[in-house]
Symmetry: C2
Subunit: 400 residues, 2 copies
């Protein structure tokens, strides 16, 4: 092997084009040409509603009443005990999951929750599975941990987990499965029935292979659910070898503040050893002590969310009108994404055509599923209203 | 190889005993028995002075006047452009280093600065060197990046870099060298003469081996310097293939807030490609977008520090008295550590003996150098004053 003066694989990651970023930058350039109000940008999954007032109230109170050295000092590597206790209590109040503070590891956000978990359990030769469509960074994180990602193709009917194919493709090398519900990019919530059948397969395969298969529940969208009938089962209660990777990015509209946590299920096989491996992984990657002020802020804001009503309103407005114009949309129960079938086979070509109408959509290819587009509706309702005629014209251009 | 249900190496890291943590916990237990005021705990390197007032002033101003969605939203993966620009300007004002915003990658603190840098450049088979005594996590970070750490033994005379041994031990596999000045654990600042001779060797070996050897300057203590005569040269100006890994933990007393940055020297060979590898590494490890509020806070506090006068006072008080009692202390120009020779060969035994006088010191073995102890003097001056008789008695117990 030729000497590499630096890591070519990291270079490739650093240089990889991102269709989301490219679309966003195109939107900024276009806004300069024709005015921001004439560009309909649905590309970015950033919360568009402010953090609840109580976030700043708590921050001010902490600055007024807590010693600066304590407030901004290191916490324990795993996170401050009072914060972990408060989170465990909140989880148990809502889900009766039997979680304790010592099962929780505070992290610098959703990406950190995943990388710390994956490095704790994956070794070279291992496989991690996930279900298309999926958040593309899963592949980056799994490969950085030295393992392979095995993607189960989408169930393009309802975009639930495609279990027959999963069962056919799982192998003894499978050590973990990442699932994401409510889902980015589809907005779909996996039904309890689908989840229970999935966990049943996992248990069967654990027995067959004679080793644990970890379920990694990536849950940044847990609180973003719009219908009273929609339920997001807590995986710790359905399957013993479960990690929950959480972030407050979306629920409290704090994506830039990098605060989240990992739950190592109290029922996990060798829970104490696996938790210690999570601690070692956090240490090895440089993730000890999540941001200290934010640890206190989230502990005081458990059970609170940003005002999510605008997301529901946006979803309803988009779904109702786009289906009326003749688009096939998957009904999104949660998150802030709408998943829509492109009006031609090539989603990239469809997105380019949409740009003629100043509609900025993300093609589905990078999510591991061809022929769809993702619309992030974490935007102003008023922008959606202004965009509707453009969607109608685009549909008509395709003969709808 | 037997199937590992999770990573045994991460487990080992998570379970590894830490003499610093053990000492700190012993101190807490002892404080309950005999009262906090009777325990003299010099174990922890946590800032003991508050953040400058301007930190909270800026935070309040941002909360009052910046839209919450912007304030707490994602920045660019590499960090907000205005923050990177402000940092580059500050570096250039102080050191004329020709750094631009595009050479800077914002990180979640010192550990992240190091792990992101190491993963960008190291590959399996590579070696990274450092000089004893050294911060023990360097070994963890280097090995997590798949490389080996090669430690140059200490120059126990002045605790400068031991260059003849370095030159004898460097090999073609050496891809990077981490240096830390002002140094943890010794408090020593490497002289300009020592640094220039070191860089000369690096350049010679680069030519001989035909590949870059990166200098990684770990600089969380850069601002903690107590004598007007002490200078901390900026490595970017002395050696082209330099990374500077910085953190605001100590300068602004914000260790828990996890905010720092990497500088990829503008003069580095293939600077743009290496910077892209740093971006890829941050992405792979889950370190994109450093905490957003703190990015703004540090940008508005460049050139400011906590009130460091107490550290200087503490250093003078300890150094003067301990040398008077007959201890051999290495004069510390910076950081907040005093490095003192143990009064018997085994530093661990010496620290156990010191506990009889309620003195909690950290033995030097974990820093890669036997026979010394580290005293962290980021404590109250009053505690030091109360501790002096105990140090005197301890010296007398050894016949001083």
């Amino acid at each position: 092997m030729a000497f590499e003066p630096f890591s070519k694989s990291m270079l490739a990651l650093g240089q990889a084009p991102s269709v989301i970023r490219e679309t966003f930058e195109y939107g900024n350039a276009r806004a300069k040409e024709i005015g921001r109000e004439n560009v309909f940008d649905f590309s970015l999954g950033n919360p568009s509603v402010p953090a609840p007032d109580s976030v700043h109230t708590v921050m001010r109170d902490l600055m007024d009443n807590t010693n600066s050295v304590l407030l901004h000092g290191y916490t324990s590597a795993v996170g401050a005990e009072p914060t972990r206790k408060a989170i465990a209590d909140d989880i148990n109040r809502r889900f009766s999951a039997g979680v304790s503070a010592s099962d929780i590891y505070m992290t610098c956000g959703a990406a950190a929750s995943l990388t710390v978990t994956l490095h704790a359990i994956l070794l070279p030769g291992d496989t991690c599975m996930t279900f298309a469509p999926f958040f593309p960074e899963y592949r980056v994180f799994v490969e950085a941990a030295g393992a392979k990602l095995n993607v189960v193709p989408a169930d393009t009917d309802k975009f639930q987990m495609n279990l027959p194919v999963f069962e056919a493709r799982i192998t003894p090398e499978t050590k973990a499965v990442i699932i994401n519900t409510p889902n980015n990019p589809t907005g779909v919530i996996y039904t309890e029935e689908n989840l229970r059948a999935f966990c049943e397969i996992l248990r069967k395969k654990e027995a067959e292979y004679g080793h644990p298969i970890y379920l990694i529940a990536d849950e940044p969208y847990r609180e973003l659910v719009y219908d009273d009938t929609a339920k997001v089962p807590y995986l710790v209660n359905l399957y013993d070898n479960t990690f929950v990777c959480y972030s407050f990015s979306k629920s409290l509209s704090l994506p830039g503040e990098r605060i989240g946590y990992i739950v190592v299920s109290p029922k996990m096989q060798e829970n104490r050893l696996v938790y210690a491996a999570v601690c070692g992984s956090g240490r090895a990657l440089g993730f000890v002590c999540a941001p200290s002020l934010m640890q206190r802020v989230v502990a005081e804001n458990l059970g609170k969310t940003s005002d999510l009503a605008v997301y529901k309103k946006n979803r309803d407005l988009l779904y109702t009108n786009l289906t009326k114009y003749g688009y096939r949309c998957i009904y999104p129960d949660g998150a802030f994404y709408l998943w829509m079938q492109a009006l031609e086979e090539d989603a990239n070509a469809f997105c380019m055509k949409a740009r003629d109408y100043e509609l900025l959509l993300v093609p589905s290819d990078s999510f591991g599923c061809k022929g769809y587009v993702r619309l992030a509706y974490c935007v102003t309702t008023e922008m959606i209203e202004r965009s509707l005629p453009a969607f109608e014209k685009l549909a008509k251009a395709y003969g709808k």
